[in-house]
């Protein structure tokens, strides 16, 4: 090989070696699956859970408002889009003091909040307190009243009332 050709080849080789090598664009893609399970559920909160009707002159105070009015309530529901959740109440009996009774349907309530409604306590059939369509958290309140009467026997009366929230 002549000196001239060797020189040219060497210069060409050096030029090639010094030429930056462009990197090709590249990427990788992967798919991630995300799952979530949501079940139907219902949660009822009432506060306070005990109310008291104080003694009062039937000519002066009638009906008697509960000392604890206003009672707050919150119904939290997860249900299908068209599902109707219901809140009902059912007393376990009349107000009892020993052998004396005050008819439970002398106890009434008023209500505020979307979906809540007023009513009268009963011990034979559950009474509607509220109803809603679909999922959500519904807040409301109750004010309770006892019809007063000179016919009541003296005593300390009590009874339990069961509230039931149902989400289909």
């Amino acid at each position: 090989m002549t000196k001239y050709r060797s020189t040219v080849l060497g210069l060409a080789t050096l030029a090639l070696a010094l030429t930056p090598v462009p990197a090709d664009a590249a990427s990788d893609t992967k798919t991630l699956t995300i799952n979530a399970t949501v079940s139907a559920r219902a949660k009822l909160t009432i506060s306070p859970t005990t109310i008291n009707f104080p003694d009062a002159d039937p000519d002066v105070v009638n009906p008697i408002p509960a000392t604890e009015n206003t009672v707050s309530v919150e119904a939290k529901i997860r249900t299908t889009g068209a599902g109707v959740a219901t809140l009902t109440c059912l007393a376990n009996g009349d107000l009892v003091s020993g052998t004396d009774l005050i008819d439970i349907d002398n106890v009434t309530w008023t209500a505020s909040g979307a979906g809540y409604g007023p009513g009268t306590m009963h011990a034979s059939a559950a009474q509607s307190v509220g109803s809603w369509v679909g999922s959500g958290s519904r807040s409301g309140s109750f004010d309770f009243f006892l019809d007063n009467s000179w016919a009541y026997a003296v005593g300390n009366y009590s009874q339990d009332v069961v509230y039931t929230l149902t989400a289909p």
Binding site: S6, T13, T29, K30, L32, I34, N35, V38, G81
Partner: protein
Amino acid sequence: MGYLVWIACRATAARLLVVGRGGQGARLAAALALAAMWVCLGPPPAQAGPLTLTITGSVDFPDRSPDIAPVIGPDDVTVDVRSLAAPGTPWVLTIVADADLTSGTDAIPVGNVSWTASPSPPFQGGILSAVVPSVLGTGVSHFTASLSLGFYLQNSWDYVPGDYSATATLTLSSP
């Protein structure tokens, strides 16, 4: 392409060195050959890529009471990230959802899903989007890491019962 040039470079430099040593008056050729050899003795230019992602697991949020678990998670996923492009080449890892989490006609906004990332840096946490890819991390090659992602779901009483699903696409790219 770069690899072939490197091979040719070494071969030619080697031949020039032989010619330079054996030929008369070819000291210049030999010097050039030695210079080329010095350049060519470096490691071959890495082939563009490979960039590889490997995902282990899926994200599965269980049903929980919103009052007890206002945020569900973390549910962990491991992603092996490898960027073996030419040293110094930048890489970026992104994530984007295909849509909201859906169960029939019901939907949970995908923006209710967020994640934390480890190691951080170079990786970072964020909130999932179905509109704009979110950056999971950036860096330069060569780079390998085992990325741990912890996913979270904002819980709510407003969700309709169902089995929800969505997919998210992770993309590792290098310009």
